[in-house]
């Protein structure tokens, strides 16, 4: 059996110290496999996004270890972690985080250039998210759903095996939200990526291969 795309063991994250210490995560184990979409669900402040940040190598746990495609990330320098994120992961954010001064095509080309890929791949990526006709539109000229699809196309630049999405449907209406969820599931099931989605959206849960509930920093069985 192949290595899991992402694996976390005994993750604990404590903010502050002494009486004011807050345990954001408490002994979390997690695994994400290629070809699967997983939903991280739970109430606000439960630790979902914190877990996503640790899985995305953006935050160091107080205790525990994370492996990306079998490689232990503890002890890697910040530039090495940045390279790992750049080459192996794609990020999708709740607020899209597109560059407002660049067109849809150029937003994707930034990621392609960073990953050392051919900039000419951008139109095909936009075509994949069914925005082939919006190459030269700026984010302000796109609807919320279109912006999120551009963000997904950007996350796909460089063909990363892992996609991490933080509340990707929170700012979208039901039609656009459903389209984004279907797209994420398709990217997992048809393209073999490991997709982890932090969400409150039950539609994600419906299409997810696995739902992980978190509450008070602990995974609920």
């Amino acid at each position: 059996m192949s290595e899991p795309a992402l694996e976390a063991r005994g993750l604990t994250l404590v903010y502050g110290s002494g009486e004011t210490a807050v345990r954001a995560l408490d002994g979390v184990d997690f695994q994400a496999n290629a070809g699967e979409i997983q939903a991280l669900m739970g109430p606000s402040g439960s630790g979902k996004t914190t877990l996503l940040m640790i899985l995305g190598c953006l935050l160091h746990p107080t205790v525990g270890e994370v492996r990306v495609e079998g490689r232990l990330v503890a002890g890697l320098s910040n530039p090495a972690l940045a390279r790992l994120r750049l080459q192996r992961m794609g990020f999708i954010f709740q607020s899209y985080n597109l560059f407002p001064a660049l067109t849809a095509e150029e937003n994707i080309q930034v990621a392609l250039e960073l990953k050392g890929h051919d900039l000419a791949e951008a139109p095909a990526l936009l075509e994949l998210v069914r925005l082939g006709g919006r190459l030269h539109n700026f984010p302000r000229q796109l609807s919320g759903g279109e912006k999120q699809r551009v963000a997904i196309a950007r996350a796909l630049a460089g063909d990363p095996p892992i996609l991490l999405a933080d509340e990707p449907t929170a700012a979208l209406d039901s039609i656009n939200g459903r389209a984004v969820v279907k797209l994420l599931a398709q990217l997992a099931h048809e393209q073999g990526r490991a997709v982890v989605v932090v969400t409150h959206d039950p539609r994600v849960g419906d299409l997810a291969d696995r739902i992980v509930h978190i509450e008070d920093g602990r995974i609920q069985c």
Partner: protein, 387 residues
């Protein structure tokens, strides 16, 4: 700017992002460019004035064709000097390697205007036969006209100041009558006292200088003579004088006016202040632009963009701002320099200064962007999940 152009200029996506970040907020971008242009004009004017003053301080020396200058001991500049015994002239002529030597007279004098009123002028008397010294850039009259007794030439820039409306005007210098027979164009003095050119005999007569005295001995070396050896030989035979090569005396005069009097230093201080003001303006604007785009830098860092990419974006913003800010700034400076040609204070903006100022503007913008780089690099990439 189309993306294709950005690529042709080798800017890549970092350059494109920098350009678009700047151009996205047009009013702020215009303020940036105005700020940089203002700094460029400020620095160009101050340095141009410095060069103009420097040029004015030495123009008569530089326009003589003399190889050496024998000056009274301790003379620190061309304009203010003590008498020199004419005997020094004959001694100079006797030194091996000296091809020719002649006397030059330079004296402050009071010029009485035809319509009333006095002006202090600098009278220069030279030997018209050799043409080693004397007026240049003559735009009215002829050098030969100065051979007639008690005739002088002045510069057009000072004609109104000296009350001279046309050639032939009769004036009074130190109580002696003199006639204006020619105009030069663009010969200024550092002291702002107008130069008045005359033949040596006329100058001697107008200033009532003793025949046995003069101010300078100037001359040329024989072809093939070693300038330094002949200069040293002159110094040995003329111990009560200082002997300078032409460029040495020009440098001595320039250093006196520009630095010993503090006039040049104050202009340079103004130029440095212009640089500082420019840096503050640029730093503020680039900082504000960076702060506005912090979430985007956060996104880049979260995606795993290397630091070099973010440096490149911010430095490209600085380079674009410097380039586009320098162009209007230097254009205005060149126009102002052109306009100064008809005024008493010359502003010189030669190509070397215009190009050098581009380097200064670039350095100013890049230095100003350092604070922005620090701000962008201090972002926690995890912030993108916390919005």
């Amino acid at each position: 700017m189309k993306r294709g152009q950005a690529y042709r200029w080798g800017m890549g996506m970092a350059g494109l992002l920098a350009w678009r970040n700047l151009a996205h907020d047009r009013s702020r971008f215009v303020v940036t460019l105005v700020g940089i242009s203002f700094a460029v004009v400020l620095i160009a004017m101050q340095l141009g004035l410095f060069l103009g003053f420097s040029d004015s301080a030495t123009n008569v020396i530089r326009h003589t064709r003399a190889d050496f200058w024998v000056v009274p001991k301790g003379s620190r500049n061309f304009e203010i000097t003590m008498p020199l015994n004419e005997r020094e002239l004959y001694l100079a002529r006797s030194v091996p390697g000296v091809a020719h030597a002649e006397a030059l007279l330079v004296q402050f004098a009071i010029w009485k205007k035809p319509g009333g009123g006095d002006e202090s002028v600098l009278l220069v008397g030279s030997d018209l036969n050799t043409g080693l010294a004397g007026p240049w850039d003559i735009v009215a009259g002829h050098l030969e006209d100065l051979r007639r007794p008690d005739t002088v030439m002045i510069d057009r820039l000072f004609a109104e100041t000296l009350g001279v409306g046309a050639l032939g005007t009769t004036v009074e210098i130190r109580g002696q009558r003199a006639r204006v027979v020619g105009f030069t164009q663009g010969i200024r003095s550092f002291t702002t006292n107008p130069w008045v050119f005359a033949s040596y005999r006329t100058a001697q007569h107008l200033t009532q200088f003793a025949e046995s005295e003069t101010n300078y001995v100037i001359g040329t070396f024989e072809p093939g003579a070693d300038p330094l050896r002949v200069r040293d030989a002159l110094a040995r035979i003329l111990p009560r004088t200082d002997v300078n090569l032409s460029e040495q005396f020009a440098a001595r005069t320039r250093d006196y006016w520009m630095f010993a009097t503090g006039a040049g230093a104050s202009v340079l201080v103004s130029a440095v202040l212009g640089l500082l003001v420019g840096m503050v303006i640029v730093a503020q604007v680039l900082y504000a632009t960076t702060v506005d785009h912090l979430p985007e830098f956060g996104t880049l860092r979260a995606m795993g963009a290397p630091r070099a990419f973010i440096y490149k974006v911010i430095l490209s913003q600085a380079v674009i701002s410097a380039t586009l800010g320098h162009l209007p700034g230097i254009t205005v400076s060149l126009l102002l320099a052109k306009a100064s040609e008809s005024g008493a204070a010359l502003v010189l903006v030669p190509p070397s200064l215009a190009i050098g100022l581009f380097g200064v503007t670039l350095a100013m913008c890049v230095l100003a962007s350092v604070i922005s780089i620090r701000k962008a690099m201090d972002i926690d990439p995890a912030m993108v999940f916390q919005r």
